[in-house]
Symmetry: C2
């Protein structure tokens, strides 16, 4: 089998590593608009060969792992080029727009829309790691629109990566993911911004910040090139989550202003049950 990976960063690179590990005979071809990333991927050894879009006509599997705005343009181009037996899947964090974009493509049945819930705050080929997907969930949308034998080929790959599959409609995916992923990123970025603006003297942050701040602000290291298009694609849902989040913060602030610390206590006690939910996540991912 050959696998073409378009976009040699954290997500595509980590897939390459584990696909190769599970299937040593697979030949992995890398495509990236950034020549340094191609060289790096060759040096790190997670691709066997640099490649070009025109070569996709030979592809058996094409993984599109680039920012969601770029994927919107590139996926239809890929489908135009590949042959009738190729599997093409994307891994973007929004699913409605890409599914609409390819809805009427004559090779729609060659495409599978997926979102592996996995990643770190780092990016680029150097961020690619072994085992990133192991035990994680992969959300697959509109599976019925993909040819059955290509679904099977995809599932074999996801199984090799150690992923659990969950099927969802693109709209439901985008709505839920706004809460459990997109909002977390914004809350973290804005926390980082608020602290940096106030603490011009970084020495003060450095000395006083502990592991709690570090954990809460970790996602503010994430790539703007990846995240700005995600917020654009999921604009309506993200605005809704932000409105609810800001509303909750305003209410919390009002309770403090009113010296109602008994309600402040209750707000926190009610939210403590996130413990059980997170315990579930840990069981799932460990």
């Amino acid at each position: 089998m050959n696998v073409f990976i378009i976009g040699l960063g954290l997500i595509g690179g980590s897939m390459a590593i584990d696909i190769k590990r599970a299937n040593p005979s697979v030949r992995i071809f890398g495509i990236d608009t950034n020549q340094e990333h191609i060289q790096k991927a060759l040096t790190l050894g997670f691709i066997d060969e640099a490649s070009e879009m025109i070569d996709l006509k030979e592809a058996e599997v094409v993984i599109v792992s680039i920012p969601v705005n770029a994927a919107l343009k590139v996926v239809p181009e890929v489908l135009d080029i590949v042959n009738d037996d190729a599997l093409v899947f994307d891994v973007g964090s929004t699913k409605s727009l890409i599914c609409s974009e390819v809805a009427n493509h004559k090779k729609r049945r060659n495409f599978l829309a997926t979102h592996p819930i996995a990643g770190t705050e780092f990016s680029g080929p150097n961020a690619a790691i072994e085992g990133l997907y192991n035990g994680k969930t992969n959300i697959v949308c509109e599976v019925e629109k993909t040819a059955f034998k290509l679904q099977e080929r995809a599932m074999k790959i996801f199984q090799d990566l150690g992923m659990r599959i969950r099927y969802m409609e693109p709209k439901a995916h985008d709505k839920h993911i706004a809460y459990v992923s997109h909002l977390s990123h914004i809350s973290s970025f804005m926390l980082g911004k608020t602290v940096i603006e106030k603490e011009k003297n970084e020495r003060d942050i450095f000395d006083m910040a502990g592991s709690g701040f570090e954990s809460t602000v970790r996602l503010a290291k994430s790539s703007p090139a990846m995240w700005a298009p995600i917020f654009e694609h999921n604009r309506e849902n993200v605005i809704e989550t932000l409105e609810e989040y800001i509303g909750n913060l305003l209410r919390f602030k009002e309770l403090i202003e009113q010296n109602d610390f008994s309600s402040i206590y209750d707000e926190m006690a009610n939210t403590n049950r996130i413990k059980e939910i997170l315990a579930g996540i840990s069981i799932k991912t460990n």
Copy 2:
């Protein structure tokens, strides 16, 4: 030497463990209003003996590790009881009120106000762990108001715990800590609340949430009994940080509403330099 610890939770218990490790001959006495915590501390072995307030007249060192509202009442009572050579220090996350409360106490020179920047999201005696303070910062306020030989006794303990000392005025402490600690906790609690409210079906959170959400919402597991009094004590500063945080979130939402994703990109790119600040924290704590 003997050490009395009032409050046998994460903070006091972890201190007991490492003081004993560094000084096996020290005898550690535990005081807690919760009898189960005393029994647990005896079973875990981080205190040698259960004790009562009246016994504090024999104390050489008293550590007050209870919620800040309780400490405000208990520290003056402790100072009333202890002899003239005893060191009493608190470890609370706010420093202005406790320093004001003891300002005119006739044993003010027996007291040292400290805030070890260390902890986890867990609480109670079971949460006590070895090495919690190693490599962390301890903020010491109004050191000049403590008798010199008692400062020395305290510094020996902090050295045994592996802590770096930083001296600050109580007001400056409370202002900065609101940004790098108190705000993180509120952002995390409200993120947890927003997601729980929306996702009544926890199965959806469980399946779709990844390590990013887990990290950002981790602090929402923290103890309300500890945190409600902190917000009460640091009310003015916390309100100010919340206003700035909410302002930044509102601006981010407006940029999305205006489809100004180039500014959204810039906001995130500017905040990415939190990477270097966090790298500093990691170097410090590892």
